[in-house]
Symmetry: C2
Subunit: 94 residues, 2 copies
């Protein structure tokens, strides 16, 4: 009846991050931070979890002399997101 919801995506901030990344080729740490209104600490932790799961890739580089972290959703991430949305329908269909 109710499909299990992927616990990695069933989190307000991680879902928002995925939502931001879905629309874009990539996005840097601070852009995601602004869009999601997250604190840096929380965002850092949640990005790690998404990266561990292989749902996003995280590239740490530099822009000029400043560090710059760029994130990108992976094919596995897109698939997981789609599965999550599909599962959610069991719960919210009227």
């Amino acid at each position: 009846m109710f499909k299990k919801l992927d616990p990695l995506l069933h989190s307000e901030l991680r879902l928002a991050v995925m939502s931001v990344l879905l629309g874009l080729k990539d996005a840097d740490f601070n852009y995601i931070k602004e869009q999601t209104q997250a604190t840096a600490g929380n965002l850092s932790v949640q990005l790690d979890k998404l990266a561990q799961a292989g749902y996003i890739s995280v590239e740490k580089g530099f822009e000029g002399k400043r560090p710059k972290t760029t994130c990108r959703i992976t094919p596995a991430g897109i698939q997981a997101f789609e599965n999550y949305v599909e599962s959610l329908k069991d719960y919210i269909k009227r």
Copy 2:
């Protein structure tokens, strides 16, 4: 951008409970337990939280000599559910 998701509803089991109750006039503890595949302990706790929030009403009575707990979604619960679904759209629109 991303509306805050009601933390009471952003829970797999509580959302499933609300989903079950939305379709029905009322439902007893064990019916909800079957539908959601929850353990009794977990269900008991989550029903309490939904009742505390005023999203459901819980009536403890008897059927013959056996205790029987009947739950019903309240108007506030219906409204909260609808708001939750509306907020979710920010996150899952493609």
